[in-house]
């Protein structure tokens, strides 16, 4: 058990069961699951599709309520309300199409009632940081998918969250863009000192970015193993050529292969 100064968030025997809907049986999506997130670490979660990765993130974000167990963020229970200090970036494009890039990034700050001068300062900084300065006056429709995701990341970043939750944020992007965005994410993580929880289905992404990788089982998801990568804090996408990176991804795959087959088998039998 981690002591309270390094412990940032904790799942204690958390389960999530989605109640029966319209003749369908209830779905046991997650758990019982335990996880300690340490302050300032980069933690990735991988698992077969449908294993409850996103459910885990929604629980921690307060967007969903655990059926059983307890969830703590900075020592306080999380249940159904988004705690202060948490920022979330979703896989889908969550930029507001009616606002310019600048106004999109400023949106959350204005909601929080931050004064105009401070909004300008933080938004200009975040837009510069995310390489969006030339597009500040553009609307999201004029940008590529990768750029729109940067807008969403910048919008989260300006709120200075202490815990950033990312739900497959690069899932809709091509491989090259993913690698570059990964580098940006590492830079952002180092600069902000925030704790990052990344949900991903890409093993190489998890292996490259994280301090620790949690491998989840097929549904109901729980952690089969948590691997420590041992990367230095100063790192970037070049570590993909490190032999240790290859060993790590093959270890991840050997852990996941069986679970993925099981998950696929479940889906096949459910369809039959």
């Amino acid at each position: 058990m981690s002591d309270t100064s390094t412990l940032h968030a904790r799942f204690s025997a958390v389960t999530r069961v989605f109640p029966a809907v319209g003749g369908q049986p209830p779905v046991h999506a997650l758990g019982p699951l335990d996880l300690d997130l340490r302050r300032g670490e980069f933690f990735a979660v991988v698992g077969p599709s449908g294993c409850g990765k996103s459910t885990l993130l929604e629980l921690l974000a307060g967007l969903s309520v655990p059926t059983q167990g307890q969830l703590l963020f900075e020592g306080r229970p999380v249940a159904g309300e988004v705690p202060d200090g948490i920022g979330v970036v979703f896989q889908e494009d969550a930029s507001f199409p009616w606002l310019t890039v600048w106004d999109n990034v400023a949106f959350g700050l204005r909601q929080a009632g931050v004064d105009a001068a401070e909004v300008t300062r933080r938004v200009d900084h975040a837009i510069g940081f995310m390489g969006l300065a030339d597009f500040a006056r553009a609307h999201p429709a004029q940008l590529s998918g990768g750029m729109r995701q940067r807008v969403c990341i910048a919008r989260t970043l300006v709120l200075q969250p202490r815990l950033i939750l990312l739900d497959e944020p690069f899932g809709a992007l091509d491989q090259q863009t993913r690698l570059l965005m990964g580098d940006e994410l590492l830079r952002l993580w180092r600069e902000t000192g925030a704790t990052v929880l990344l949900i991903t289905h890409a093993l190489d992404e998890a292996a490259m970015l994280s301090d620790r990788v949690g491998v989840m089982s097929a549904r109901p998801g729980r952690f089969i193993e948590v691997l420590t990568t041992g990367w230095p804090r100063e790192r970037d996408s070049r570590i993909v050529s490190d032999p240790a990176f290859g060993q790590l991804t093959s270890r991840l795959w050997s852990l996941l292969r069986e679970e993925s087959l099981r998950a696929a088998g479940d889906r096949r039998s459910a369809r039959a």
Binding site: L63, V82, V88, E92, A94, F96, P97, Q111, H139
Partner: protein, 253 residues
């Protein structure tokens, strides 16, 4: 201008010119129709002698009232019904078959209820417009991406703020479609009612001119109605196109 615009422009100008020629050469008799140029000069005359103002003011007032009511009530009812899915499921067949009802048959009833004044006319204009607005409000709210609402929750926005700052702007293009239809339906409802049973307004004045073989006044006023409706619709159309283009929902050559 794109080629589509050119074709459209040529079509309108060509039709007007053709009518002009047909009327001037006597192919179309003056008792049937007068040349478009005379309609225009007749309309200018009506403005100069001031005869157009009382019916114009009356009709525009009624249309504006019917329009504002149908947009306001349609939007609020849309919001409300959207918030209660069960109520919505119950109402669905009524809403779907609403425009199958010929409202004008209720005119006698409306006169009994509201009396012989502008109110029955406004009510018919309102009845025509309100459900178009309601249906488009529902459609717009249905199309608000879930991830935007989740973003609102993450930003810890309350229900009212989310409605005003996320749902409303996200649904705006669809709401604007509702507004466009409501304008058109309010005009139809009001002017048609004035035709049937009214002692004032553009509809009444057109019908009166028709009964008195006053083709000049009749066609001039028809032209006026067309000009007004096209002008209002063009403004809304430009606004709508700009909104769609801004959101990348419009692919135009």
């Amino acid at each position: 201008m794109t080629s589509a615009l050119w074709i459209r422009f040529a079509l309108v100008v060509g039709s007007v010119l053709l009518l002009e020629v047909l009327c001037r050469t006597g192919v179309i008799q003056p008792v049937t129709m007068i040349p478009p140029s005379r309609m225009a000069s007749g309309l200018i005359g009506l403005f100069q002698n001031g005869k157009v103002y009382p019916p114009l003011v009356k009709t525009m007032g009624n249309v504006a009232t019917a329009f504002v009511l149908s947009v306001g009530v349609g939007f609020l009812m849309g919001l409300l019904i959207h918030a209660f899915p069960r109520v919505r499921r119950a109402l669905d067949p009524f809403l779907a078959s609403y425009y199958a009802v010929p409202f004008f048959v209720f005119y006698p009833l409306l006169i009994v209820i509201f009396g012989m004044n502008d109110l029955p006319i406004v009510v018919i204009g309102f009845l025509f417009g309100v459900v178009a607005m309601l249906l488009n409000t529902l459609n717009g709210l249905d199309r608000v991406a879930r991830v935007l609402l989740k973003t609102g929750r993450v930003l810890r926005m309350g229900r009212v703020r989310t409605a005003l700052q996320i749902r409303l702007p996200a649904a705006a293009p669809y709401l604007l479609t509702g507004v466009k239809l409501s304008v058109a339906y309010s005009f139809i409802g009001v002017i048609a009612s004035e035709f049937i049973l009214s002692g004032a307004g553009l509809g009444y004045t057109i019908a009166y001119a028709f009964n008195n073989f006053d083709n000049l006044t009749m066609y001039s006023l028809m032209l006026l109605v067309l000009v007004i409706v096209v002008a209002i619709n063009s403004v809304l159309h430009v606004w709508e196109q700009r909104m769609l283009r801004q959101r990348g929902l419009l692919r135009q050559g």
